[in-house]
């Protein structure tokens, strides 16, 4: 069984959000889950949102677009372009929330084979400015957590907040 929890780092004063999570699956399978639209739609995003993949052209210069549809029909669209030929070692793509056009993040996905059928998934998102990152964190699917913010969780647990 996995006890993996996601680690999210958003250092103050930088434009980066980094995440790490170990998943139970061999690297090739994880790569497929990230790059095949039929698989991606089965896991990305909260369960209550229906995901629709409009385009997922996984090659250098290929465009992607997907939409999360809420229960009331509200749609949240995201789009971008792949840069370089996507491979398990490295998938590089731009990421833009359609609700904030022009605010583009550069996302890098790295899959590391840990052996034993487990894979470390690392993401590095570079925003245009710290303010853009923090705005992203506060809105939409965004949000974020500094490593040190786990301390807040512990404190809240003690406070019963």
């Amino acid at each position: 069984m996995t006890t993996a929890t996601i680690r999210i780092t958003a250092e103050p004063g930088t434009t980066l959000i980094e995440t790490e999570r170990v998943v139970n699956g061999p690297r090739d399978l994880v790569f497929r889950a990230f790059t095949e639209p039929g698989l991606l739609a089965q896991w990305l995003g909260p369960r209550r949102l229906t995901m629709r993949v409009d385009a997922y052209d996984v090659r250098h210069g290929g465009a992607w677009r997907y939409v999360h549809v809420d229960t009331d029909g509200t749609e949240y669209g995201f789009r971008g372009v792949f840069h370089g030929d996507p491979a398990p070692d490295r998938i590089v793509q731009t990421f833009e929330f359609e609700g904030a056009p022009g605010h583009v993040a550069l996302d890098t996905l790295l899959l590391e084979d840990l052996g034993g059928g487990r894979t470390l998934v690392r993401t590095i998102s570079a925003y245009q400015a710290t303010e853009a990152r923090d705005a992203m964190l506060e809105n939409g699917m965004a949000g974020g957590m500094e490593e040190g913010y786990q301390q807040l969780d512990e404190l809240l647990a003690r406070l019963g907040a």
Binding site: A33, Y76, G140, L152
Partner: protein, 131 residues
Amino acid sequence: MPTDQLSAVFGALADPTRRAILASLAGGDQTVAELRAPFAISQPAVSKHLRVLEEAGLITRSRRATARLSHLRAEPLREAASWITGYRDYWEESFERLDELLGRLSTVAPADALQPPAEAASTPTPQGDVP
């Protein structure tokens, strides 16, 4: 909560002594002398920590006779927590689903795994707020 106030809250929470002070105040209002007792630090040092907490909106202070009482304000903590949970919730839930999918892909024929499971095709149940 404005970003600069969030920064003040997280800045205040970055210090272990200040977190201990907040935890202590969760049990009720206390004077500077009472708050200082568990720590091997001077009264001015405690007062400095209290100033930081007050500026972050995490405590309020009032007078009782000659003593200054500190009072915990939990609201900024809750707001800071809700700011954090959006992104984490999105990705935690996504990765849980990814683990489930990887489990299905490992145990069934690849062609079958491409089809969503029955429950995924049903109407999603509303749970909480829009992200």
